[in-house]
Symmetry: C2
Subunit: 361 residues, 2 copies
């Protein structure tokens, strides 16, 4: 008997609004497709800080470990701007990633045909765009020690962080990228600043050696991060899989997501060792400027659920069904405010979009 | 009597080709506009490594210090890919920046009207785009200690670098950004990852305090680097001056330069304390793929000379004249291969473009 369990962590800003629509979709799948997925709810980020005094309570991390997949909304917002460093909402997310050992962040940047005109890029540059970022997620400057702010003898201050990667840390995420490339076009572009950073040099050498040893059927190229930022603007379709570290991945994958004109549409997955629950979340943030207005696009969150159904909840058939429902609703002209309307489109709010998708199911 | 001196450092790849055209322009200004600028030449990067066994020889750094401005082509290329870390071409550039104390890198991203169609972005998104990046250039992860690659007890390796900023380092570059904003639209956006890095938090606090103390007439905003990458794609014209650190500045300013469609057109300046020579160079790199083919665009290098004439060589009049000559030649339809042609344009090589500009002078 199917007894999978998903933990929903709405978080801050538009997080609760978009997760309410995910809940609606789960209910529809449970009712009409015999999914039988149990749902728990938990707090994270600023919402958790307000309620429990910490951005990730230990019992929530335990709930996450005990579930089959975790789906998060978003964290952060101006309300918590001045809380002390270890209490800020983002720290909840970082602790969750670290606590579950989620070393690989899969962030697709793909262009939905119905939305190609919503991009600021010319249609012929992004039509059919389909990049998969594999971003290292629990190492690098996000977690490196030592770190902090110290007062120097002359009374001035010094802020410092450590960018650090070991061979095994690089190998496990690179292996994931090569494996995924084999299921796609078979090309990996590894991105760092080996020309100015030793950590980048070790990254390049380690990826090169692993490629030679185990993945010589995959095409491997290397690119400096600044050049990659340029190439994403110049000709994004040159890329298949982009493998990069935590910080470069944060910046470059966000730029790439925006290229598609479909930011509100893009899901992501953070994966660790087999057997550990993955963390699924929209690429977009908590968008405090539109929070509470019920206009946020719930598609990225719903498609994150689809990723979870496919990769961890044992129902790739329902993943397909959910993705098709989203496409169908878009093709029928439903648009949230973030998506440029056009002829024959209909502007809907968060709930309108969620209902349309759930009804289709 | 005018006795200014400029040091030309052609470097690698297309560097020598584009600096030959700068030389042609200087000759024209000397001959027909009584400039009287003396020119010296020196080696840097891979070219210097090949000739002197080091990417920046001490006597070249001395020549740089003794000149009024330095103009560089570009450094780096596949030929030196496997030289040891402290000998790579890029190290020559880093040592030059550090040796001259050039803490502020001014990188304009602006869209030349005649070239707006060469961008991959829609014309209405980038028309009139004019952003000035002020990038910190001799601190951060590029120079922070400790750094290196070490072997761990279990035989695996660890590569590490240190991101580090002190209050005075942040203040001096922020002051430059605020000063420049006063001559523009009066808006500074400061960019970091204060939500995950303590060095970014100190950056934000220091900029905020300086603003309050000395520059409250300037409008200051803050943005996380990942969001900035998105906003540059979504609506680049929202920015006036972007102030950021060495690494984020490297990546974001390159993305912004590519947005304009005018990469081969963009100059930059690295400045230090008053009295020190600045380093002027095109934003583009050494472009090994087209090196030696005589097709590179010399405009960015020639406009870098114009920046030097304006800011350090005491001839803003000739800076204007040079910039006008470049505009005029573009308006007359001259295009190098990097610039999308169109009706009534004429494809020329590096020398063809340089000659047209020099003749105009
Ligand atoms: C919220 C923040 C800590 C996070 C990050 O920087 O990793 C976000 O930008 C992301 O990309 O998931
Ligand atoms: C060549 C390289 C060291 C340099 C840098 O990373 O600073 C370049 O990319 C730049 O932006 O000037």
């Amino acid at each position: 008997e199917y007894s999978m369990k998903i933990l929903l962590l709405p978080g801050d800003g538009i997080g609760p609004e978009v997760l309410a629509e995910v809940r609606r979709v789960i209910d529809a799948l449970n009712a009409h497709h015999g999914l039988g997925l149990s749902v728990e709810n938990g707090d994270i980020g600023g919402a958790s800080l307000d309620r429990h005094g910490t951005p990730l309570a230990p019992h929530v991390l335990e709930m996450a470990k005990a579930s089959d997949a975790v789906l998060m909304g978003a964290v952060g917002g101006p309300k918590w701007q001045s809380v002390s460093y270890e209490l800020r909402p983002e720290q909840g997310l970082l602790n969750l990633r670290k606590g579950l050992g989620l070393y690989a962040n899969l962030r697709p940047a793909l262009c939905f045909p119905a939305l190609a005109d919503a991009s600021t890029l010319k249609r012929d540059v992004i039509d059919g765009l389909d990049i998969l970022f594999v971003r290292e997620l629990i190492g690098g400057v996000y977690f490196g020690e030592p770190r902090g702010i110290e007062t120097l003898p002359d009374g001035t201050k010094r802020g410092f962080n450590t960018q650090s990667y070991t061979t095994p840390e690089i190998e496990r995420v690179a292996r994931m990228a090569f494996d995924l490339a084999r299921q796609r076009e078979g090309r990996v572009c590894s991105v760092e600043k080996a020309n100015v950073m030793e950590s980048g040099l070790l990254w390049r050498e380690t990826v090169t050696a692993l490629h030679k040893r185990e993945f010589s059927d995959v095409a491997l190229s290397h690119m400096y991060a600044d050049n990659c930022a340029m190439q994403l603007v110049r000709d994004p379709r040159q890329f298949d899989v982009i493998l990069t570290d935590n910080l470069f991945g944060d910046i470059l994958s966000d730029a790439a997501a925006m290229l598609t004109g479909s930011l509100g549409m893009l899901p992501s997955a953070a994966l660790g060792e087999p057997g550990m629950p993955g963390l699924y979340e929209p690429i977009h943030g908590s968008a405090p400027d539109i929070a509470g207005k019920c206009i946020a696009n719930p598609c990225a969150a719903i498609l994150s659920l689809a990723m979870a159904l496919r990769h961890q909840l044992g129902r790739p058939d329902l993943a397909d069904l959910t993705e098709k429902a989203v496409s169908h609703v878009l093709d029928s002209g439903y648009r949230t405010g973030d998506l440029l309307g056009g002829e024959d489109t209909r502007l809907v709010g968060t709930e309108g979009m969620g209902r349309a998708i759930a009804e289709r199911l």
